[in-house]
């Protein structure tokens, strides 16, 4: 079942078009990556998804029905800019957030303690939130959005500002949540993470979806024109006009073929003058797809 369905939603602020006719769908048990440069309309889209703002046109459907605030109890939201009450103790804060999401105080407290144990925060339960490091605060916020066991989890840049250890812990948590059938949407500019975690992606630019679909399908739309090569002997074949560009690291070379060029021909050519240890036809990385699609704007 689609937990989120956006159908041609648009939003204009004063004279700036933030989102233009965006459509997407997120199913249960999947991880969805929302990508795009800064100001592309990711946050605006997310806000419309959960009713913080309403679209000027188009429809938002949650859990198979037209948007209704009652569904928000089943949504966990981690905003891009973290917001916690600095003066509140961690456990109090989490209990409060859990209660706002409809839990009773006891359940909220129990779950908060369990999550904190899992994410290595147990010692900070009694500390004031403002006394924690930024990374720890982020974990608190992460927990706050999950306490009520939402079916739909929406996270705006969840990995920003986290060290590799915590980043890993969060990734594992999200993967476990997906396994248990939750739908997860997150926006990020870390392509390696999207590539590793997401089943579906949507790349937005200037408020429009420029690339949507399953990871596999999106990648298959781009030709396999990258080759990783390890060899010994004469490297003269690297000068062949069918090669668009190449980067050499000694005997290891990464190259890209010109449009329409046949990789098999290059393999023959190479085999004539050198000993081949490895010849791998690689699919484009998401980062390449991203850059190729939105141009040089990599400040996502």
């Amino acid at each position: 079942m689609a937990l989120v369905e956006l159908e041609r939603i648009s939003k204009t602020y004063d004279h700036k078009i933030a989102v233009r006719e965006l459509s997407l769908r997120i199913d249960a048990g999947t991880m969805f990556g929302l990508l795009g440069p800064n100001g592309a309309g990711k946050t605006s889209s997310i806000r419309m998804m959960i009713g913080i703002t309403l679209p000027d046109s188009g429809t938002v459907r949650l859990f198979g029905e037209s948007f209704n605030r009652k569904f928000l109890r089943r949504v966990g939201y981690l905003p891009e800019e973290r917001g916690l009450y600095g003066k509140m103790k961690v456990l109090e804060q989490l209990t409060f957030m859990g209660q706002l999401h409809g839990l009773d105080a006891r359940t909220a407290e129990q779950r908060a303690k369990r999550w904190c144990e899992q994410l290595d925060l147990s010692e900070s339960l009694g500390s004031k939130t403002e006394a924690l490091s930024k990374g720890m605060q982020q974990k608190v916020q992460f927990i706050a959005s999950l306490l009520h066991e939402p079916d739909l989890i929406i996270m705006d840049e969840p990995f920003a500002g986290l060290d590799p250890v915590n980043s890993r812990a969060l990734e594992e948590t999200l993967l476990a949540l997906r396994e248990s059938g939750k739908a997860i949407l997150f926006s990020t500019h870390r392509m390696d993470q999207v590539e590793k975690l997401c089943d579906f992606i949507c790349l937005v630019d200037h408020g429009q979806a420029v690339l949507t679909g399953s990871m596999r399908e999106v990648k298959s739309r781009f030709p396999r024109d990258r080759i990783a090569l390890e060899f010994e002997g004469d490297g003269l074949f690297l000068k062949d006009p069918m090669i668009e560009e190449s980067k050499s690291y000694g005997n290891h070379v990464e190259l890209r073929l010109k449009r329409g060029a046949d990789p098999q021909r290059l393999l023959h050519l190479a085999a004539e003058s050198a000993r081949i240890f490895r010849f791998e036809l690689m699919e484009p990385s998401l980062e390449e797809i991203f850059i190729r699609t939105v141009g040089g704007r990599t400040d996502a």
Partner: protein
């Protein structure tokens, strides 16, 4: 509703547990204690202390007469009689007053014929007007008594003539003269305005501040993803308001406690009694105070939602104070013309209702429909203010850095 309650509880606890709350509560308690203690001490050492005055005259009969008069009109003045002494001794006596630490010297020369004597009171304190009045009255009465005696009137007749007049003041209320409580009216109205002013400036601003803090800390985006901005605002108002009322409640109880304590009782039976606020007045005082407090807090919330920094709030605070200042300035007019059209209109205008309606009630019971209408309008205005605040708050999520202009704020109100 549950959300509003949760938010109110959070706001309330955060405030009540803060060091600032504890500090201001204790500080005020200490101040009240000091003031009560001070009030206890002041009468003994200032006006309550007996004055030692040297009464000198070249005429013993006159001097004794004045001494008696003074004794009968004030228990605070002790007379050291120096009579008869020749006029030349005045300078010596003046020196003595200073040397021996008396408070003053009253010199009474003998009068000739019907002319009143030129009495002189030389005091060591320049501002001793109260004593001067007593002395003037005493000398006056002695002179009148002597002249009346000379006219041949009997002592009894003279006593009747000089008996003091008792002026009883009444107030015409609903066509009947009743015992006047104009002092209580004034006192009650003043207290209303000052308590409201203080609490609005202090606690109303707290609501604004709390709204701004949530905006700058960006908590509001999380909250808006869970709950309605209306619940948020209502919760804030109730929570911050309840914290304020708790503090005022503590202070009020302390004041009462001091007031009821034996030390306070000894200050003066007529000290607290003059307020003479009736039960009905007390109930309406509470009602209008609470409604006014909520209205102004909601107004502050709207201001808080439309700006980004606490500094900017200061610029708005004067707007909030204007209706209250107007009420204060118009107080004498309202009390003497409680049913003038302008006053009626003002009492139905929500920002002025708490002060003006209370004043009108103190002066004369207004028609019931006006009373009910004013309360209904005030509640509606408070709700409207909250709605506006919630709207601005929600749209404010999209704003950063710059302060919105008025047209922008108005446009926000149309956004959905």
């Amino acid at each position: 509703m549950r959300d509003a309650f949760l938010i109110a509880k959070r706001e309330y606890l955060e405030r009540v547990r803060s060091k600032a709350f504890l500090f201001t509560t204790l500080l005020f308690a200490l101040l009240v204690g000091m003031m009560t203690g001070g009030a206890l001490l002041i009468p003994r050492h200032a006006s309550g202390r007996a004055r030692n005055i040297v009464l000198a005259s070249d005429n013993l009969v006159l001097a004794e007469g004045v001494q008696q008069e003074i004794a009968s009109s004030s228990s605070h003045i002790a007379i050291v009689l120096q009579a008869p002494v020749p006029a030349e001794d005045r300078e010596r006596l003046t020196r003595e007053v200073d040397e021996k630490g008396y408070d003053g010297l009253l010199w009474l020369p003998t009068a000739t014929g019907t002319k009143r004597p030129q009495a002189i009171y030389a005091s060591r304190s320049s501002a001793d007007l109260f004593t001067g009045d007593i002395l003037r009255g005493a000398v006056m009465r002695v002179m009148m008594r002597r002249q009346l005696t000379e006219e041949g009137l009997s002592q009894e007749k003279i006593h009747q003539l000089l008996a003091p007049v008792d002026l009883k003041t009444l107030q015409i209320k609903n066509g009947k003269a009743t015992t006047s409580n104009s002092l209580a009216n004034f006192a009650g109205a003043y207290i209303m305005i000052f308590v409201l002013y203080f609490s609005v400036v202090y606690y109303g601003m707290n609501v604004a501040r709390s709204v701004i803090q949530e905006k700058t800390s960006r908590v509001f985006e999380v909250l808006l993803a869970i709950t309605r901005p209306e619940s948020l605002m209502a919760g804030k108002l109730i929570g911050v308001g309840a914290a304020g009322l708790t503090q005022m409640g503590i202070w009020f109880s302390l004041t009462l406690l001091y007031g009821l304590s034996p030390i306070a009782a000894s200050i003066g039976k007529n000290g607290v009694g003059i307020l003479g606020i009736t039960v009905t007045q007390g109930v309406f005082f509470l009602l209008f105070f609470l409604l006014g407090f909520l209205f102004y807090s909601a107004l502050s919330a709207a201001f808080g939602a439309s700006v980004n920094t606490e500094q900017e709030i200061q610029q708005f605070s004067f707007i909030i104070v204007i209706p209250m200042a107007a009420g204060l300035m118009m107080m004498p007019y309202i009390l003497s013309n409680p049913n003038a059209p302008a006053v009626v209109a003002l009492s139905l205008f929500p920002p002025c209702t708490p002060m003006v309606m209370y004043l009108r009630m103190a002066a004369e019971t207004p028609p019931l429909w006006q009373l009910l209408l004013s309360v209904a309008l005030l509640i509606a205005a408070t709700w409207g203010m909250l709605w506006v605040a919630a709207r601005i708050y929600r749209i404010g999520i999209l704003m950063y850095g710059k302060r919105p202009t008025l047209p922008e704020v108005l446009r926000w109100l149309r956004y959905t």
